[in-house]
Point group: C2
Chain length 159, copies 2
């Protein structure tokens, strides 16, 4: 699928993506530590916010992680009461994972805390460009557009 041949000018984003993600992650770690979160957790929470109510096998597919490793990740998050696992009524084998209120709040806090990190890494881009970047990344990461009705960053003082 998607055998669309690109034009002659080949601009591969892979390495750049990797590079920027690394730089972002390095800064994120120190900022996120006081919140008890790690970059991976952030990714998971973000995905959950975007497409909540997924079983954790589906989550494993989205995050492209081994399902056994998903368990540990979710254990962390559940211990902190940022997510909830509920058994699906339709299929009681299934654990439906959802963000709790605390989780959404913590995610917003984390995003606020990351503002300075992002300013550093994306310093060369103006706000409009960052918004464009966000939209592109968002579309790419979910395959479908993520409706932006969340994350108003109501949280605390740091913002």
């Amino acid at each position: 699928m998607s055998a669309q041949p690109l034009d002659s000018s080949e601009h591969r984003s892979g390495a750049l993506l990797d590079h920027l993600a690394r730089r972002m992650r390095l800064r994120s770690e120190s900022v996120l530590a006081p919140l008890g979160l790690r970059p991976r957790h952030l990714v998971a929470l973000t995905v959950l916010r975007a497409g909540g109510g997924t079983g954790q096998q589906a989550l494993a597919t989205i995050l492209e992680m081994d399902s056994t490793n998903i368990v540990g990740l979710l254990n962390d998050l559940e211990a902190k009461q940022l997510i909830e696992r509920r058994r699906s009524p339709e299929d009681r084998r299934r654990h439906v994972v959802e963000l709790t209120e605390d989780g959404a709040k913590r995610l917003s806090e984390a995003e606020c805390a990351l503002a300075s990190a992002e300013d550093e890494v994306l310093g060369a881009l103006d706000p409009a460009e960052r918004e464009t970047l966000y939209k592109l990344l968002s579309r790419a990461s979910t395959g479908t557009a993520v409706n932006c009705t969340e994350a108003i960053c109501v949280a605390d003082d740091t913002c």
Copy 2:
């Protein structure tokens, strides 16, 4: 520097960046293996192509890696004759690192080989959007625009 306060709508790209980079990296590894390269090598080569002729300490700063680990990375690349270390005439302590012809060629090959991976990961974006993404990432990663006079993918059959 860059204490520009963002507007009210908070869209943090960090997690998405991480997510996409991971997906890309997973696919890249298998594709790159036959070329004897790893994603990290690709990143280094890409940075070198963009801002060649840097000392390796500067490289460490750009890549935000420990300089001791840079050495190993460059050793790999030099052993494959993809880069050259030359002593700077001005400061003979310094090793100026530059892409060799082989290196540029190999990089192009690698980028071609990554086309399918990128198609998968960025499948939701059309070519114009990918180009936009590339430009944004490129600007962000170097701080300044990268002149796009390279990587015409002259290489081989796979492209």
